[in-house]
Amino acid sequence: MTENGGLQAWATSRIAAWGDLGSILDGLERKRDHTVTETLRAIELYRALGRDLSIVRRTLPASRMTRALAQSYARLHAVIYRKPHNWRERLRSLFREEIPQVVRELRGPIQFVALVFALAAAAGWWLIGTYPELVGLVASEQMIDGVEEGRLWTEDIVNVAPSSVISVGILANNITVSIVAFVLGVFFGLGTFYIIAMNGFMLGAIFAFTHQHGMAGELLKFVLAHGLVELSVICIAGAAGMMLGEALIRPTHETRRESFRHAASKTSKVLLLCALLLVVCGFIEGYVSPDPAFPMISRVVIGFGWWVVMLGALSGRLFGSGRSQAKA
């Protein structure tokens, strides 16, 4: 038998096994939980495919058969080495251990970002307090006219749209701002710095403007219920963005690429919790904040209460972190 004849005979003997590869791989990829039998069969198939691939790579390099076998081998490799999946355990671990760990590491950047925010707010307060004519930089004409007439823009919110619609719009906007504050950290932290500073500046400027017209108390009453957590979350997202920038400036791994990937993968976990907190803030801002029926004391209780819940979530205690550690 010639070499080609031998190769042909071998390939013919394997065709039955190769013919079903597509459907077998589809089935393996689709299922997350495999029985012991299925797992052992997959491993045996992996070994067999590896043997077949090594043969065709030597004898038929760059052929279609080689390419097809290599594709199937790569797919099977991905299935076998796929990480174990238990979404309940994963979420539990995420909220009890991983996110609190990241928050502890972000303590320094959070303090820095909060300081930047406060200084920017102070700058905004000073600028509009000293040069009131510049309020057009931060407020629309409609807002300015309303305040000058003794009416906050927040009073008409529920007349423009229902609370449900306002809530969804607000939470979507806030989540987007937080994600942008995080993502712009890629520009060596400068993008995040800009977002945080701009938001702080605008807040300080608006409060200065309303204070000049004796309405700062009304504005404070509006923001109290949702503002504490909202501003805290934006600072946390900003801190995560700063970490991204720091990973690029001072790499912690062999390459900047690896350092960036590690920082992004670690700090992005906290964004999930931020998004959940902002969802509730959105509903508070849509239903509670614009409603004059809620007295100041209720807003203080809701605002500080939700802030305490936020602290519990960030530390993991809300999800039983302290109890699980004690058990361990």
Binding site: N4, G50, R64, Y73, A74, V79, T176
Partner: protein, 239 residues
């Protein structure tokens, strides 16, 4: 310019080689997906509008139900298409499947939900300033043709053509005494037949047939039409 490859070492000693998808394949997949999600979103909006108003009409203030049941799902379909489908389809989307690409981690694994979500968060950056210009520049300039989202998530876009069925069946058609190399060539020619110039494919087909069927007289071979040549080659493969 050939596509870069990455080689993953395995415990069996047989390395996994993944061909990185270039900017062209990536863009092709994106354009297909964009059309699909736009159509799905518009479909929802239209059907929702028809159900809500009982026809193609509109009022000045449609009420909260319209925003919640028509607008919001439309926006969710459009903006969450990629993350939801990439997670559900284990690194693929309909567009990626059509374009013959898929997402894997740098270890060749199927990416989990975390990396896929992170990859999609960075679309906000990759899509700047418009039409994914930042992402496109990064894809062109990086060694493994990755955008910023892929760098953050540690993912790669690799080629994923499923040609196993035709390759195996045709390459092992031993009935006509074809060698695997000859079968490979014939299959390659038949696959590319529609794209080749009429004269060129006839020339190649005659050359191949002359090699695999040397008993055919040259005059007979020269007299065969391109359709006949194709039929003879197909019969040779299928036996």
């Amino acid at each position: 310019m050939s596509s870069p490859q990455i080689t993953l070492q395995t415990v069996t000693g047989v390395d996994v080689e993944l061909t990185i998808a270039g900017p062209g394949s990536r863009s092709y997949a994106f354009v297909i997906d964009w059309h699909i999600r736009l159509l799905l979103a518009l479909q929802w909006m239209l059907v929702g509008h028809l159900i809500y108003f009982g026809g193609l009409r509109m009022t000045d203030s449609p009420g909260p139900g319209y925003a919640l049941w028509v607008w919001l799902p439309t926006l969710l379909i459009y903006f969450l298409y990629h993350p939801v489908l990439e997670i559900a389809m284990r690194g693929r989307t309909p567009g990626k499947r059509i374009a013959g690409v898929r997402l894997v981690t740098r270890e060749g694994d199927i990416p989990g939900a975390g990396p896929l979500l992170l990859r999609n968060i960075f679309r906000l950056l990759d899509s700047l300033p418009l039409a994914y210009l930042v992402g496109l520049i990064t894809v062109v300039l990086t060694e493994h043709h990755v955008r910023v989202g892929d760098l953050a998530a540690g993912t790669l876009l690799v080629m994923d053509h499923d040609s196993s069925a035709t390759s195996f069946a045709s390459t092992t058609a031993a009935k006509s005494g074809l060698t695997p190399q000859a079968a490979d060539l014939i299959q390659e020619l038949l696959d590319r037949w529609p794209a080749l110039d009429e004269n060129y494919r006839a020339t190649i087909a005659r050359t191949l047939l002359a090699r695999v069927e040397p008993q055919i007289p040259a005059e007979e071979l020269a007299g065969l039409s391109t359709n006949d040549l194709r039929a003879r080659l197909t019969a040779k493969l299928t036996g």
